[in-house]
């Protein structure tokens, strides 16, 4: 079996992995980028709509355009990468990689986990009914249409108003299909507001809030679905059922970080994010293993993935060079109204950006960072919604002597 030693191994060649690899390389170490698909770019390959890079480049790029900027740089810096190569196991910083070129053991000084996420499936959310052809997760349908040129259906209902579902509502409409409805169990959309406007409202596609799919009929191919309104506990309300004849049901019901390798490597995972618990260097509970992007927590826009992964790449490079990090003694805890906050622990000795999500949509909300009764930082959000990640920076000078930080919505 072949062996290879490297300073930093990056698992995943999507936006997170590309950015982490570039950043590590620029910090003066040898990098190996490992991608399981046949090309770099990850999910951006199939995201042919525009809207990427608004934060970072102040331009609305398509997914492939956005990723190409990073791929070009990887090529220019001659960062070695392996395609069609899947990491089968991570044991401390030793990886086992399976590829058509052979089986490879990689010994790294540090590792960046950048495996992205996967879509929640019908099984995860227990949608009852038949199991005919014509039921796809939205991302899978996006791949089939945009990359393989297959049309998945004529009359489509979409369950879940996640961003991919909204994008696919527009995409399918542009392809000539009729999208009958987007069904959302929550009383508000779980996608970005710009996507609600640009993908549904512009095409007169109805959005049914507080509704869910209660039955799927079809022996071989989907023939109809039944939706119903739900109460506050998400239980369908009898008498509100509505049958829709369709041949396709797309599911856009959430994303789950792909942490199988992390779990197997014994990394501590967070019950809410389903990603690793990390410090301000994005280091996981296993020293020298870092995580960023959607494998750490599901992001709303790719720009934040890129920025986060730059930090992960830099940290991994420093670790590989033997730099020691200060101890992260301060816990960062989600308080009232906050679903999660990252990183979960910090040292207080350097500036840090917190990423967080709120539980409920609201207007004119204050996001407050507290040390006991003392307010460390306060920002005002005219609009705070669960679908949008909030970023908030803290200065090290404000963090002296702090034991625990609590982030709240007021």
């Amino acid at each position: 079996m072949n062996e290879r030693s490297v300073d930093v191994a990056v698992i995943g060649g999507g936006p997170a992995g590309l950015s982490a690899a570039l950043s590590a390389k620029k910090n003066g170490v040898d990098v190996l980028l490992i991608e399981r698909n046949e090309s770099l770019g990850g999910i951006l390959n199939q995201c042919i709509h525009e809207g990427f890079g608004i934060e970072l480049f102040k331009e609305a790029l398509t997914g492939p355009e956005y990723m190409q900027r990073f791929i070009d740089e990887v090529e220019n810096l001659k960062i070695p990468y392996m395609l069609n190569s899947m990491v089968l196991s991570v044991n401390d910083k030793r990886l086992i990689v399976c590829s058509p070129q052979g089986f490879l053991r990689v010994k790294a000084k540090s590792v960046v986990l950048a495996m992205g996420c996967r879509e929640r499936t019908r099984g995860n959310i227990c949608v009852p009914g038949d199991r005919p052809a014509g039921i796809y997760t939205a991302g899978c349908a996006q791949n089939l249409i945009n990359l393989r040129n297959y049309m998945v259906g004529r009359k489509v209902v979409i369950l879940g108003s996640g961003d991919i579902g909204l994008i696919m509502a527009r995409r399918l409409t542009l392809e000539g299909a009729s999208v009958l409805a987007v069904i959302e169990i929550l009383p508000y959309s779980s996608g970005l507001s710009r996507n609600i406007v640009q993908c549904l409202e512009d095409y007169n596609i109805p959005l049914y809030l507080s509704h869910t799919v209660v039955d799927i009929k079809g022996e071989r191919r989907v023939e109809s679905i039944t939706i119903a309104q739900v109460d506050e506990q998400w239980n369908p309300i009898p008498g509100t059922e509505k049958r829709m004849e369709c041949d396709t049901l797309l599911l856009s019901v959430g994303l789950i970080p792909e942490n199988e390798l992390s779990r197997q490597a014994g990394i501590e995972l967070h019950p809410v994010t389903a990603g690793a618990v990390v410090d301000e260097y994005l280091q996981t509970s296993v020293p020298g293993i870092f995580a960023s992007g959607n494998v750490l927590h599901v992001h709303d826009v790719v720009d934040w993935v890129t920025l986060e992964s730059e930090l992960a790449g830099k940290s991994a490079a420093e670790y590989a060079k033997g730099v020691s990090f200060p101890e992260s003694k301060i816990s960062v805890i989600p308080g009232d109204g906050v679903r999660y906050v990252l990183p979960q622990r910090i040292s207080g000795e350097k500036d840090v950006t917190l990423s967080l999500r709120v539980f409920c949509p609201g207007r004119d909300k204050k996001i407050i960072v507290k040390d006991g009764g003392k307010v460390v930082k306060k920002i005002l959000k005219t609009r705070a919604v669960p679908s949008e990640m909030i970023r908030l920076s803290l200065k090290s000078k404000d963090l002296g002597g702090i034991k625990e930080l609590r982030v709240e919505v007021e």
Binding site: R36, P100, F103, P128, L144, L147, E175, E219
Partner: protein
């Protein structure tokens, strides 16, 4: 009109086991299956358990064939290269009042010839299964698990390689009894056979009625299941069953480890009008709640798929006594062998049923052993089960082993290609899934479906017209992108 000695109707595990058993003899045997693959009905929709024989009433045919089949399965599975694992079973009493039921089960098992049954106390249960809360349990060390798709497909493939013709997508429409044979009309060609074996499962009553035997009625009884993510597999090691409920719908919602490392919860038992395999909100919740009584650790987040199967029962709802298997040659219709009401433990009993049917065939037909009969099937290579050195060697020989198509189950391109090259030439997504597990994992084919479609396109020139989830009518696509715009 095609001629044969034996015509088997139904390609479930029983039909395929009979086909394989008869392939040992110099007979012209044909098996007809209405679906586009074998194991599309009840045989593939159950717990995948080899029952040790303590649930069935002593002295019945069911008890005899259950225990016999259970003894035959290990060597049969080894011949066919089908993994079989004796994980053992615990029937759990949650309170002292349930202990008499355990004793009753043990007595039944002892009478039936089940080996090694013992009643153990709560502490011992804890030693075997730390996550299970119990007052006491009946421990059955020889209860085992296997993949029913794997076994049924292996039986069919082995029968085929020993000369049985397996004809798929062929539905029997009518049967005429002639003087010393039967004419079987299908949606395709007609067949003339001296002997007909009716192993049509849920439809066996309708098949029997075609020759005027209208005394049987099948009552479909649906059971729903949840499948849990493999990362929960360490929750239990044994099959964990409750004390059976009083009505005879099923054995109670149990927790079953699968041979591939998942856990299944189920099944429910619900009599339905038509044998349909949908799932329902109510039962999905009920299963979850009942399973949590045995194993509180389970969470809905662990579910990766739900499915249901239908038991072909001979007794209607509310019955308190289970019916026996019916395996008989109708006295008024000699040559017509009916297998009716083959529900649980049908999977376990299948090899014993097959031997019994072969003996019945032998009563009227000479059984001459086939010299060239080969009982073995080449085992499949399960890449993800192999040690690293072996994986490395395989990739060196064949780079298609290095390309992982299904990331959740680590299924390689070579295994997908081999599944597509199956001897029945069944080429659809479910057929691949059942043969190599691509798509069976936690993402439920979200990632590998496009890759598998590409492989089917590239290696078998398939197009949107014949790319299907399973049988005809289950087309994955309505055309190519832009097609709807052009119209």
């Amino acid at each position: 009109m095609r001629e044969c000695d034996i015509l088997i109707i139904g390609g479930g595990v029983v039909g395929c086991a009979i086909a394989r058993e008869l392939s040992k003899y110099e007979l012209k045997t044909i098996l007809l299956e209405k679906e586009c693959d074998v194991c599309m009905g009840t045989s593939g929709r159950n717990s995948g358990v080899a029952h040790a024989g303590f649930y069935v009433q002593s002295g019945t045919l069911k008890a005899e064939l259950n225990v016999k089949g259970h003894r035959m399965l290990p060597s049969l599975c080894s011949e066919l290269g089908v993994p079989y694992e004796e994980v053992g079973k615990l029937v759990v009493a949650k309170k002292a009042e349930e202990i008499p039921y355990l004793r009753k089960l043990k007595e039944t098992g002892d009478r039936n010839g089940t080996h090694g049954l013992e009643i153990i106390d709560g502490e011992e249960v804890k030693g075997l299964e730390p996550n299970i809360r119990a007052f006491a349990a009946l421990y059955s060390p020889s209860s085992a698990i296997l993949d029913p798709f794997d076994l049924t497909i292996a039986l069919a493939e082995n029968a085929l390689s020993n000369g049985v013709r397996i004809i798929l997508s062929t539905k029997v429409e009518d049967i005429k009894k002639k003087k010393d044979n039967f004419t079987v009309k299908t949606n395709k060609v007609s067949y003339r056979s001296k002997i007909v074996v009716n192993s049509a499962g849920l439809y066996s009553d309708k098949i029997a009625a075609m020759v005027g035997i209208d005394k049987y009625r099948i009552y479909p009884c649906r059971g729903e299941y949840h499948i849990l993510d493999k990362n929960r597999r360490n929750l239990i090691k044994h099959l964990v069953y409750p004390v059976p409920p009083k009505d005879v719908g099923g054995l109670g919602v149990h927790i079953t480890p699968t041979i591939h490392g998942n856990i299944m919860l189920g099944p429910s038992a619900e009599y339905i009008c038509e044998p349909e395999v949908s799932t329902t909100c109510e039962v999905m919740d009920q299963l979850y709640n009942e399973a949590r009584e045995l194993l509180p650790e389970i969470s809905r987040m662990d579910f990766i798929r739900s499915f249901s199967g239908v038991r072909p029962k001979l007794t209607p709802a509310g019955s308190t006594k289970a019916a026996d298997f019916v395996i008989e040659e109708d006295p008024q219709t000699p040559g017509f062998i009916n297998l009716i009401g083959i529900e649980s433990p049908g999977l376990t009993a299948a090899p014993a049923i097959a031997e019994k049917v072969a003996a019945m065939v032998g009563d009227s037909t000479e059984l001459r052993s086939k010299e060239e009969f080969n009982p073995r099937r080449k085992p499949k290579i399960g890449f993800n089960q192999l040690p690293d050195e072996e994986k490395a060697r395989l990739i060196k020989e064949d780079p298609a082993y290095g390309r992982i198509v299904c990331r959740c189950e680590s299924v390689t391109e070579r295994e997908v290609l081999d599944a597509l090259d199956n001897p029945f030439k069944v080429r659809n997504i479910d057929a691949i899934k059942r043969r190599c597990r691509a798509g069976m994992g936690r993402c439920q084919s979200g990632f590998c479906l496009p890759k598998i479609v590409e492989i089917m396109e590239e290696h078998h020139s398939m197009t949107e017209k014949d790319l299907r989830l399973n049988c005809e009518g289950s087309e994955l696509f309505i055309g190519r992108a832009k097609d709807l715009r052009r119209k």
